[in-house]
Amino acid sequence: MCVAVPVEIIEIQENEAVVNYGGVKKLVNISLLEDVKVGDYVLLHAGCALYKIDEEEAMKTLALFQEILECNEG
């Protein structure tokens, strides 16, 4: 039940947004977030969006993985 999933925001209506939930449109509460816009990916849990996924940070994490792989010591 703790499972939280990333979903894409399709439409915003005040405190709620329509998201794409595995191909199905679903209305979720977005009042815990600031400045979300259509096209953003958010983490959805129990009917509420909890966080806006930061793709730039994801790329930084990937770069860190690469850096570790390329460093020679064990």
Binding site: C2, A4, L32, L50, D54, E55, F65
Partner: protein, 363 residues
């Protein structure tokens, strides 16, 4: 979400696994606190590929599993009342109480509805003014803000027939209780990912500072988990105890402040009851006085059920990481996901259920 494909690149995963294997020199015990991590670890198969020097211990992060027996019995008792509609997350339906389950009570005519969100429970309350709608509020910090939202919504809209039976728990103090338990001997933590989304990196600082235990906040991709292990091994090797955040795509230092605010408005810290463990200081949330009318126990004048532990089920020790399911004589014999004896076999995130599904043979 382009990054996901790159994170799932097989060469990246292989390379990272090799790094972990090379880094592992002495015996270490690493706890993954969160049930979703337990599931992800089993699913990825890395458990079998790690060197025997790394022992992964599954922690208490499955909300259904840690909810005490007495709570389920109280919910079952309530479901028999004609003036009540019980609303719950689906996972709770099959958890065995001492004599029945919510699923069974529903089949026998009990008014039990599965909801996706506590906000749906508020809607049901609005539509059914003649009933008291009770939401079974279980979960950790991930779920707490949504429950708090439902309470604020009901308060503002003056919905008087909505209440919660609360058993919400919080993580940092729970981890502290595990650290001071010498029998468990944890050397490092993989912190719960989505709890951290809400509370941020900050509240784990004491682990490194006061107890010399490194902690890594990690995502749920295989490579995330391997990276967490690598970072923990590296910190242990260098005697450098820190909290590292490798899940910055979903976790910031401060967390989600708006969510924290609403939790603090509605709830205050309390002790909490854990399955098979009992009361643990400062590990729960209870409604503040302002919202006391939304506490089902007070509102519906409930006499809460007594704790009747299930004989032989060692869920409590499994939650604490002292034992694993293979130590339980019922595991995969009389206790299976279809016929669960304890809660840890019910939820997908439960340690017994994960062991059963993926047939983990090593510890």
């Amino acid at each position: 979400m382009k990054y996901l494909n790159q994170m799932r690149d097989i060469n990246l995963i292989k390379g990272m696994l090799e790094k972990v294997v090379l880094k592992s020199k002495t015996q270490v015990n690493i706890m993954e606190v969160c049930g979703t991590h337990t599931m992800a670890i089993f699913k990825s198969g890395i458990r079998e590929l790690l060197p025997p020097t790394i022992k992964l211990i599954s922690g208490p992060g499955c909300p259904v599993c840690v909810t005490p027996q007495s709570y389920i019995d109280t919910a079952i008792m309530l479901s028999k009342r004609k003036d009540v509609i019980i609303t719950t997350f689906g996972d709770m339906m099959r958890v065995p109480g001492s004599e029945s389950s919510l699923q069974r009570e529903k089949a026998l005519g009990g008014n039990v509805k599965v909801v996706f969100s506590p906000l749906d429970a508020v809607r049901i309350a609005k539509e059914n003014p003649q009933y008291n709608v009770v939401f079974l509020a279980i979960g950790f910090e991930t779920t707490a803000p949504t429950v708090a939202l439902s309470i604020e919504m009901a308060y503002k809209e003056n919905i008087k027939n909505y209440s919660i039976l609360s058993s919400i728990k919080t993580m940092p103090n729970t981890m502290k209780a595990l650290v001071v338990d010498e029998e468990i001997n944890i050397n490092g933590f993989i912190c719960p990912g989505h709890v951290s989304t809400i509370i941020g990196e900050k509240p784990y600082g004491f682990l490194a500072k006061d107890y010399n235990i490194p902690a890594v906040i990690a995502g749920f991709e295989t490579v995330d988990i391997l990276m967490a292990l690598y970072s923990l091994l590296e910190m242990l090797e260098n005697g450098e105890y820190k909290v590292k955040n490798h899940y910055s795509r979903l976790v910031s230092y401060e967390g989600n402040k708006k969510a924290q605010e609403i939790i603090n408005n509605v709830f205050e810290t309390s002790d909490s009851n854990w399955r098979g463990i009992g009361k643990v200081e400062g590990t729960g949330l209870q409604l503040r006085n302002k919202y006391k009318d939304f506490n089902a126990v007070v509102k519906l004048d409930i006499v809460e059920a007594q704790e009747k532990p299930i004989k032989g089920c060692i869920c409590g020790d499994i939650i604490k990481g002292k034992n694993n399911p293979l130590d339980c004589p019922y595991f995969a014999k009389t206790c299976t996901p279809i016929n669960p004896i304890g809660a840890c076999m019910v939820s997908e995130e439960g340690t017994c259920a994960a062991y059963y599904k993926y047939r983990g043979s090593s510890t």
